[in-house]
Amino acid sequence: MNKMIKKQFWILNIFLIVILIANIHFVFSEQADISSDLGFNEGVVIISDLDMVGYEKTDSGATITFKGGDITLNKNEFTNIKSQDEAKLPSFIKLNEKGEIINAEFTVNEIGGNYIFGNTKFYAPPNSRVLFDEKTGIQVKVEKDAEIKEMPTSLNNPGLKNYLTTIESAKDGSFKLSNGVKVHGRLGFDKDGQAFMQFGDEGRPPSVNGVSISPTPISSKIKINMFFDGQEHDGSYISVNDQNLIFSLGKQETAYDRTHLPIQIESSFNQNNPYIKVDASDTFAIGIGMESKIEIVNRDSQGLIPKITTNGDFSVYEDSKEIRYKKGDLYMQSFRDDTRTTSPVEITMNDKNGNLLFNGNRVFVDNFNRFVLSAPPDAEEFGDFQDLLNTKFSSRISYNYPTKESVEKLLGIKINYLSAYNEPLPKGYLDTTLGRLRDYMETLTPETRTALNAIGEIQIADSSYFRKISGDDPFAISAIGLFLPNEDYTKSKIIYKVDRTSLLEYGLFRHEMAHLFADSIKRKDNSFERQWRKIYGISGSRFDRTLNSWEYKDNSDPGTPKNGFVTPYGGSSLHEDIATFVENMGNPEIFASVVNPSSPQYDIRYRQKLDMLHQYKFISDDEYNKIFEVAGIK
């Protein structure tokens, strides 16, 4: 028992001694004033651990190397700094003979920290690299998506009297300021504490909140003050917050330019910017000249499109279009790429003194490569539009908005409206129909266009008209189109129904056009129909009767091509067979299984019919090739 107690006693004593030694070591290793070793007054250099900090006296002062420990220099702490080994980069601070920091390089650990050089205090986010030279100032290189919790400040308010401070983003990313503004590039703070950025350096242009900024001419450079409040300021500046973006250029002397040409700023908006909606692959950019200002306000919270207010010269690029104000005139230039959409904006224009231009007329751009110039009374109606199609408007100047006359002239055909009660079509339906006619017409083969131009007219009819001519309830059939051939070809007609139950659809459009074109071919020679019949091995008037008797008329599984037809309706007659093939040119997938020889559904008649449609120019080369490309056939 005694032996047992003695053993426990010794274990306890050893344990206490170990703790004591550890404590003693900790006390001694926690703080070590090495000032005198380096030739400084007491308290200038205090290190946390003799093993974790290296130091060396030099001819001009001293060099302290980080090995994982902390140091305090002139009562300013340098903590959370990675060792040189861990950072795999130099990690030191050099002092002059007075004990003042003259040069430093270190990497901050995953915690980050605040540091002070001279009287400049700055925050270095986790894993950032800090470089300091008493001549060039402080440079903080931060990781992608780093957050700058505090802006650099002076210990002696106001201003940063000692050193220029620069926060530099990673090459492939940006850093975020405390108010949420994202910056890519180098954000500097001058000795007065004013934030600025320099534009025109080589490499990827700097950006703010997803807006890339670069000067023109390309060889020029420009330094511009930055504000992060979205408010107006004096001189040349960029002011930004999550709602507002202001670019302002003062007179020439505020910038420096190697070329001595007037500098402009151009800014390109990427998809992530909070001001303008920019779709993938679309471009939105603005530019301003000297003594000009442009402000962009996001108005999502009011349900309104972004508002751009300009003072002086400006340009707004929207993919294929540029709207430009220069030397008193407003221009629109087209660069043609109508496949892209545009970003909806409202532009109010002022001269450089802030006086409203053009009697208050504003430019409204919508999603679809269109714009209007409209005076204030009309403009109120545009407040919440994204798509003007269903908006009543009466703008002085409109661009690419379909009207009856403009579409008629574009297509070279007349468009007439039919209503049993002479009622006009609702504007929304009408504009949509005209717009679709314009777009769909471009997909017709030139030969079909020629056939259409020969009849010279497309009729758009409302429900009342169809009710009058057919006696049926037109609402029962959502989509109706009619081709009415006439002995005199020029008096043949195509009628499409447009009402609240149906707007003009692409398939229907092509279907009737196929009827028209087939009719025009038939008038010249019969070989086309003869060949089509041969695909079935039948001829003459028996053809339609044969089709009608086919099992396919049971209408089972109507969504799948069968028996050489695309749809059950295609089986009703030779002409509907042709038209239902053509109506599916916007849906090439439907042919995939029936034209691919390796498919169980393969039926050579589909290929034969498509070959004929291609040969006779019902369908374009692109449409024909697309079908086989989709089917996986070269």
Partner: protein, 246 residues
């Protein structure tokens, strides 16, 4: 000697007075005829024919003015047109806007041609013998209207009585002159730097016109100048043309 001299002087004076009276008379008659002082008293048959011709003139004039607007000053699209038939006014930095005089002549020319198809050789008047002469029309494009002065000599005979009507006039109330001047003003400021919207706005704003632009192809833009203050054939009067930019 003096008496003889007095007689001669009196004779000369008489001749001068007679000549003066004749000249004044001729002048008065000329202006009277021109001014319509001596209006022919129309018989019911003549009046019937005259009304018929006047209706044709109004109808044909309206059709032609409508078509001239649709085709930008031409009855048929000009040689320099898009394939859809829109006359091109600006290409390679040059202005191809037809002059107002050319348009007036175009209207006159096609009016003379089309009027004949409206009167149809007066087949609607089988009980009368109607002879018609050559139609000659003078057109004047004014700001608020287009005036057609039509010289259409028609001789009507029935039951051994005859009459002749010749001069007609039509006024088409469209602001073609204003529209044309606005188009002309806009075109003067065209360059290949793009479409001058402010010029367009200025040209249309002061005259209360509206403009629709539509991309035709990579270089061509169709312009529709619309006058909501003028109705023709129950539609707003439009003037359509295209510009081709490099």
């Amino acid at each position: 000697m003096n008496k003889l001299k007095d007689k001669n002087q009196r004779g000369q004076l008489t001749i001068f007075i007679i000549l003066a009276i004749v000249i004044v008379g001729v002048v008065l008659v000329f202006f009277a005829i021109r001014g319509g002082i001596f209006q022919q008293i129309l018989t019911p048959n003549t009046e019937k024919v005259q009304n018929f011709v006047q209706n044709c003139i109004d109808e044909t004039g309206t059709d032609i003015i409508y078509q001239i607007g649709q085709n930008g000053g031409y009855y048929f699209p000009s040689n320099l047109s898009t394939s859809s038939g829109v006359s091109i006014y600006y290409e390679n930095g040059k202005n191809y806007l037809p002059s107002k005089k050319q348009i007036e002549e175009e209207i006159s020319s096609f009016f003379d041609y089309e009027l004949f198809f409206c009167t149809r050789n007066f087949v609607d008047f089988p009980d009368m013998n109607i002879l018609q002469g050559e139609i000659k029309t003078e057109t004047k494009i004014e700001n608020e209207r287009v005036v057609l002065n039509v010289n259409y000599p028609i001789t009507i005979t029935k039951d051994n009585s005859g009459s002749r009507i010749e001069n007609f006039k039509a006024e088409i109330p469209t602001r073609m002159g204003i529209v044309y001047d606005s188009v002309s003003e806009f075109l003067q400021n065209q360059t290949d730097n793009g479409i001058c919207l402010s010029c367009l706005l200025e040209a249309t704003d002061k005259n209360d016109l509206y403009v629709e632009m539509m991309d035709y192809d990579e270089k061509t833009v169709i312009f529709v100048f619309r006058d909501k203050n003028s109705k023709i054939k129950d539609e707003e009067f439009v003037w359509v043309f295209a510009n081709r930019y490099e």
